[in-house]
């Protein structure tokens, strides 16, 4: 060090740094989701508000409870990732869900989805979708009972048995309505595209307004916090696949726009499939990931027993991510192509 006569600072790249860290990205994602959450509160009133607060609180409490259990990782609750998991989980739930079930889902999301794999950055599956899948497995009926949307006038009307006692079944009332996808699947009835686009449909909290989710996603992509290839790939694949099916048999299959705008696809494609931990890192891998996801979504919706398949498609593609990453590693500059040479194994 003293042999350096000019007081030069020697270091390795990168030399230009942006002050971007995990808390900053998480904060921006939460900001971009705020309009979606507000729209959900507009349409579903105080039930939605309580559900969002419960999920965020539940996730942060679980994180705080277990964060010390992960070696070398202390105080991760302040980085905002748990709050984001909670917010995303709330947006995938039906508005009338009892709050205690939301708490169970939050616990499952953080503990089963994240902590047991080693905390943020180590998880195989998207935590909020893990929580939702757990809830769907536990309580299939409350998870598929949807309330009809309303306006500000019935803000204080509960959209279900929100305050059901813990560990008891909720009581259902007459407010429930079918989602556009369920209507299409079981009654073959369509829904106006404008309603789907602006969000005046029944469904889970974040299933309502495609417009707001797209705006949030565009903001994140503009900030480069979001891999635009994944939503773009998903939209293209779904539109193409659905359009081919629609052209083959317009009676049975709805058109591509319906598939794009209905259900949890927008939220899933923009905010969950793009989770940087559980999606491929290479551009080529992102396209493969996105097209696989799109094909799965349309297949489940059209040929499966469920009305909606975004959650399972994303979880399935999450599981494929390490494999995709492995096969799409870019070749280092100058590396010879040894694949065709005899006697050489690429292990």
């Amino acid at each position: 060090m003293n042999s350096n006569p000019h007081n030069l600072v020697l270091s390795t790249s990168p030399f230009l740094k942006r002050p971007v860290d995990t808390p900053l990205i998480m904060r921006h994602v939460i900001y971009s989701l705020a309009p979606v959450a507000l729209a959900a509160i507009w349409f579903f009133g105080v039930s939605a508000l309580l559900l969002i607060l419960t999920c965020i609180g539940g996730c942060m409490a679980s994180e705080m409870l277990f964060e010390g259990k992960v070696p070398f990782r202390q105080r991760t609750v302040t980085d905002g990732s748990a709050a984001l998991t909670g917010l995303l989980l709330a947006l995938t739930l039906p508005p009338g869900l009892p709050l205690w079930m939301a708490l169970v889902g939050s616990l499952a999301a953080i503990v089963v989805g994240k902590i047991i794999f080693g905390g943020l950055g180590q998880n195989v599956f998207n935590p909020s979708l893990t929580g939702r899948a757990f809830l769907q497995g536990c309580f299939p009926v409350p998870l598929t009972t949807w309330a009809a949307p309303g306006g500000l006038t019935d803000f204080f009307t509960l959209r279900g048995d929100t305050f059901a006692l813990p560990f008891t079944n909720p009581e259902f009332d007459a407010l429930s309505a079918a989602t556009p996808l369920a209507k299409m699947k079981f009654d073959a009835a369509g829904t106006p595209l404008a309603d789907l686009f602006f969000g005046n449909v029944s469904g889970s909290l974040g299933e309502t307004s495609a417009l707001l989710i797209l705006l949030g996603g565009a903001y994140l992509a503009w900030c480069r916090f979001l891999n635009w290839r994944i939503p773009a790939g998903i939209f293209i694949t779904i539109f193409a696949f659905a359009t081919i099916l629609h052209l083959a048999n317009p009676e049975r299959f709805p058109d591509g726009f319906f598939h794009l705008l209905s259900g949890g696809l927008m939220l899933g494609a923009v905010y969950m499939a793009t989770d940087p931990v559980t999606s491929p890192v290479t551009p080529r891998g992102s396209w493969i990931f996105a097209s696989g996801l799109g094909i799965l979504v349309v297949s489940i919706r059209e040929f499966g027993g469920l009305a909606e398949g975004v959650m399972y498609s994303i979880l399935f593609m999450n599981a494929c991510t390490p494999l995709i990453d492995r096969f799409t590693q870019p070749r280092t500059y100058g590396e010879l192509n040894t694949e065709n040479e005899p006697g050489e194994s690429r292990g």
Binding site: M101, V104, V112, F134, G137, C138, F139, P140, P142, L165, F167, T168, N169, P170
Partner: protein, 221 residues
């Protein structure tokens, strides 16, 4: 009998102080310290598949214990006459005989339980615990010791099945052996009854057992 000690497994040879201790050791080992499910992770197929209620778990555990004890006894009896090359086939034949007996017994005792366990009763034939004990222990030890060892592992397996079954039924259906515990309003976590819940419950039990083992190792007794 005389050459037993010569062919015994090393861990027995070390622990051997007297014949009685040895027998006790053979009996207790499988129950806790080398529990086939929670420590050795053997026989996971029935443990995951049929433990969705207490009754099913108990039936599966008892059926396996019966087959295990009887087969190990016979295997230990014939161990000097069976040629080495065909021993596995002979063991399977012995095991299959007792599985058939259990199959018919269970049909006679409770047809409902038999239907609930389905193919998994027949699949006891290929349960690794049974073949493992026959090959690793009964084929090298006396009849008495082999039966005690088999009984220990059978009890260990039954306990493990019950651990799984109790948690799954209480959380999943809110009942214990068919008796409702929490009243009619209880919302069962149906995932616990479904196959996915089996993995969650087994994983949680393994977590507990590994945590206990790690704590025991850290704290010198």
């Amino acid at each position: 009998m005389a050459n037993d000690t010569a062919t015994a497994t090393p861990d027995i040879a070390i622990a051997a102080t007297s014949a009685r201790d040895e027998n006790l050791e053979a009996l207790t080992r499988g129950i806790w310290r080398e529990n086939p499910v929670f420590v050795m992770l053997l026989g996971n197929c029935p443990t995951l598949a049929v433990t969705n209620s207490v009754i099913n778990s108990l039936a599966m555990g008892l059926a396996t214990t019966f087959v295990l004890v009887m087969s190990c006894m016979i295997v230990a009896m014939i161990r000097d006459f069976v040629p080495k090359e065909v021993r596995i086939a002979c063991y399977i034949l012995v095991i299959a005989t007792f599985v058939t007996i259990v199959d018919y017994l269970l049909q006679a005792i409770s047809f409902d339980v038999h239907r609930a366990l389905g193919a998994f009763i027949s699949l006891i034939v290929v349960n690794c615990i049974i073949l493992g004990r026959a090959e690793a222990f009964a084929s090298k030890n006396s009849v008495l010791k082999s039966s005690l060892d088999a009984l220990g592992f059978g009890i260990g397996f039954t306990l493990a099945c019950l651990f799984m079954g109790v948690v799954r039924e209480v959380i999943g259906a809110g009942s214990f052996a068919g008796i409702p515990l929490f009243g009619p309003d209880f919302a069962g976590w149906s995932i616990m009854i479904l196959p996915g819940g089996a993995f969650f419950v087994l994983g949680s039990w393994l977590l507990l057992f590994n945590w206990l083992a790690a704590r025991r190792k850290r704290r010198p007794a």
